[in-house]
């Protein structure tokens, strides 16, 4: 049986779609073919005319056409003044169409941080929210108790953008009837139970607290440069980006883009700290233990790291 997929753009940059094109083995065309996914609509690729699309939308909304998988990319825009007309579609607020489509879907996937939690514009005049969360709070467009036809809530796939392997993996699971284990914020544990920090090639610097204090230095960016790697969950250093690298490997601090609070209100590229120990500590770690551990680790740091005799 083939599965039908409908992709919707809300308030976003399109980056999740372009990120999805990074997928390799399978690439998206191979994926659609092997999983027998029939793409009803994708705004970037489809060639339906506007009246044709409207006819299909009406069929779906009235239950005459099945949508197995609804993917929403970009935030739900509620502004101005909760009218939703800052994001308009066929003369109506797009949020109403997304709401109506979601009621008919077997699975609803929020692709990216904006669709999951609101992301860019969550605190601003456009009143952006997520499909089933507003920032970290349950609710969103569809409400806390929403369940799609499969019985699952909205499956949140955060990241700015969402990593292509996450989308491909979830589509594979959904099409093959494999149960998705959802963790906090209804994100699949397969990708969101691992810290971004895990797998970073700068981990040895972190272990011995050899810090980077200005751009272009080698060292761990957690202590001064605002790196969120040990604070947030995501597969960046497990699966890598474009099969090659990651921001932290290249010397760019992690900005915690999978977090419901992203973009954060505090400044990036700096770590709020007390005596060199960050105020935000790795998930589940106590301050006293961390201070003792990092103090001893710094004392044990080998010369080759302190002198940066590494290629990282």
């Amino acid at each position: 049986m083939s599965k039908s997929l409908y992709w919707m753009h809300g308030g976003g940059c399109g980056g999740d779609t372009w990120s999805l094109l990074n997928a390799e083995a399978p690439d998206i065309l191979e994926l659609f073919e092997s999983l027998r996914i029939d793409v009803i609509w994708h705004p970037t690729f489809s060639r339906l005319s506007a009246p044709e699309l409207q006819r299909i939308n009406e069929k779906i909304i009235t239950g005459k056409k099945k949508v197995d998988i609804l993917c929403v990319e970009g935030s739900i825009i509620h502004g101005p003044e909760h009218t939703g007309m800052y994001d308009e579609y066929f003369g109506n607020p797009k949020k109403d169409l997304i709401f109506a489509l979601a009621q008919q879907a077997e699975y609803v996937l929020a692709v990216g941080t904006c669709a999951s939690f609101g992301g860019f514009g969550k605190d601003g005049e456009i009143q952006a929210g997520g499909l089933q969360y507003n920032k970290g709070n349950p609710g969103g467009l569809l409400g806390e108790h929403f369940r799609s036809g499969s019985g699952l809530p909205v499956v949140n796939l955060p990241g700015c953008p969402c990593h292509c392997d996450v989308v491909c993996g979830v589509l594979s699971a959904v099409c093959s009837g494999i149960e998705l284990e959802l963790g906090p914020y209804n994100s699949p544990m397969d990708w969101f139970s691992v810290m971004v920090h895990q797998g970073c090639t700068r981990n040895e610097y972190h272990e011995y607290r050899v810090e980077e204090k200005k751009f272009g230095e080698k060292g761990c960016m957690f202590f001064y440069m605002g790196c969120h790697g040990p604070l947030v969950y995501g597969p960046c250093n497990k699966t890598l980006w474009n099969r090659r690298s990651s921001k932290t490997r290249a010397g760019v601090p992690c900005f915690g883009c999978t977090s419901p609070e992203f973009p954060h209100t505090y400044p990036y590229f700096q770590t709020l700290n007390i005596e060199g120990i960050p105020i935000q500590l790795p998930d589940g770690v106590s301050r006293a233990h961390y201070m003792a551990y990092k103090g001893m680790a710094a004392a044990a740091a080998p010369e080759r790291l302190i002198k940066r005799k590494t290629d990282i």
Partner: protein, 522 residues
């Protein structure tokens, strides 16, 4: 008697949401208004934040020109902090932005623009079956290859900057990256693979052979020189464009702008045009000659846009983004501001780059100096031919033991910064005012704001609106010609950072009668 219809079309296969309102009389477009249908409020989101946050936030404006926004933001910070940028960091910045251009040119062509040739409206074309084989959505040969080749190409940005899309590796003073010689070697291999595919499939000839074409006649001779030339995508496009009349369709206003792009390292084997600090020269073509570009002559007009026009057309340093409630009086109809240069609208993008660089081929093409659908798309499709060798040269020049990628800088409490570049779609500018270590104002002019801008106070239409007027439409129910014209500008509506509704009449019930066919009922 003239039959008059008004079509309101949402346009897909562009980056972001676009709506076009057309007046069609006797199968000819007599009026056009274009605008995005989404407001995202990025400029106002930046106010009050730390200046460096622009490096995290502005790339997220656009998922396909993310590195270009990053570079523009970093250049504005370079200026505000008077940071020095070592040569290798300029090379690395250039190579990554050029990689982004290459992926955009290929993806826009084969995923967004060419699929229109498979529209049933072209079914009578003798080349229709060939178009289907090449460009059918998700299935065409060129579509499949584009998805394979562009993602490999983008590995270059990942190697040099961590990931694509949405990294923040460009910073004031250079880049944070420290690529090893092996990393740079890998980038050169990736580029060389891409080049081989591009030469074999897109051009049908070597980059060098393509570079020899300097006139309309030269192009004609090239086309018939070998079967490989006419069978490549460029050759197919030339054949199809002639058959479908794309070379007389969608004439622009004939004014072109380039902010200049790809800052030259102080020492390099790459030659910049004489008198320019950029490989891609800046300039304004006024219809007759290329004028020296002066940033102070840029204004944003909001007289037809839903923003408070509190002081008339403003330079971006003085501009504000102050949305008004739509009134539906018909005067203001768009949420996109209208950038103007010396009071004139201007087209930007790959064709503008060719005209401003006085490229002999494009100056010699029939509509080269005005721009038709054909010239606009041809310039985009062949831009990689010029960029690839330069990228390889700059990568080679980074292969030194003493390469330097960052110079430390000192932050300044107050300052102004301007970051002007050529992004994949054309002239992109970031204007940043820093007061007391915080962003006090941030204004962005995107290429799409130039191309898709609304009419201004002098009743001058934006370039795409201008190009749409006069377009002959065979079937007003399926006006594929209109779609060719719009997509030839490669519009990116997510980048229209302050764009909202098209005609602003969404509260005016009377207008809805005209869009009856497109009103969604549920």
């Amino acid at each position: 008697m003239a039959t008059k219809t008004i079509e309101v079309l949402p346009v897909n296969r562009v980056e972001g949401d676009l709506k076009v309102r057309l007046t069609i009389e006797d199968r000819e477009v007599t009026d056009a208004r274009c605008a995005g249908t989404m407001y995202r409020g990025f400029e106002n989101m930046l106010i009050g934040r730390s200046p460096l946050d622009s490096l995290v936030i502005t790339p997220r404006i656009c998922g396909i020109c993310t590195t270009s926004h990053l570079k523009a933001a970093a250049k504005a910070l370079d200026m505000a902090y008077k940071a020095n940028t070592p040569d290798d960091s300029l090379r690395l910045r250039n190579v990554t932005v050029m990689t982004e251009m290459l992926q955009n040119d290929i993806r826009q062509s084969f995923l967004l623009f060419f699929p229109d040739f498979t529209s049933p409206a072209h079914a009578q074309q003798p080349l229709y079956d060939e178009a289907l084989r090449r460009y059918a959505v998700f299935k065409g040969e060129a579509v499949v290859q584009t998805i394979r080749e562009t993602k490999k190409l983008l590995e270059i940005i990942s190697i040099l900057g961590g990931q694509w899309p949405h990294s923040s590796f460009i910073v004031p003073g250079g880049v944070v990256s420290l690529p090893s010689s092996n990393d740079i070697g890998s980038c050169r291999h990736l580029l060389s693979n891409f080049r081989r595919w591009y030469e074999t499939n897109v051009l049908g000839c070597t980059l060098e052979r393509w570079g020899e074409i300097e006139s309309r006649q030269g192009l004609e001779e090239w086309l018939h020189e070998k079967p490989a030339h006419s069978e490549g995508d460029v050759g197919f496009f030339i054949r199809f464009a002639k058959a479908a009349g794309l070379d007389t369709m969608g004439m622009g206003p004939g004014t072109f702008i380039s902010f200049g792009g790809l800052t030259m390292p102080t020492v390099t084997r790459v030659a910049a045009p004489e008198g320019h600090r950029n490989y891609m020269p800046s300039g304004f073509y006024d219809g007759e000659a290329v004028q020296v570009f002066d940033e102070r002559m840029v204004r944003e007009d909001v007289s037809r846009a839903y923003f408070d026009d509190y002081m008339g057309p403003s330079h971006p340093f003085n501009g504000r983004t102050l949305p008004l409630q739509p009134t539906g009086d018909g005067k203001k109809y768009s949420w996109s501001k209208a950038p103007r240069y010396h009071g004139k609208p201007a087209e930007t993008g790959p064709l503008a780059e060719r005209i401003i660089a006085s490229d002999p081929l494009f100056l010699d093409l029939p509509a080269g100096r005005r721009g038709s659908v054909f010239e606009r798309q041809l310039a985009r499709l062949v831009r990689p031919a010029a960029l690839i060798p330069i990228m390889d040269q700059w990568l080679k020049e980074m292969l030194r033991q003493d390469s330097e990628f960052f110079h430390n800088y000192h932050t300044k409490k107050d300052g102004d910064g301007v970051g002007l570049i050529q992004a994949p779609r054309g002239a992109l500018g970031h204007w940043m005012k820093i007061v007391d270590n915080k962003i006090a104002n941030y204004q962005i002019i995107t290429p799409t704001a130039w191309n898709l801008s609304p009419t201004d106070k002098n009743d001058l239409k934006g370039p795409c609106e201008h190009a749409l007027v006069g377009t002959r439409v065979a079937d007003p129910d399926n006006p594929v010609e209109v779609e060719h014209v719009i997509r030839s500008f490669d519009p990116c509506l997510v980048c229209c950072v302050h764009a909202v509704t098209p005609d602003g009449n969404w509260r005016n019930k009377g207008q809805h009668n005209n869009r009856r066919r497109f009103t969604l009922r549920f």
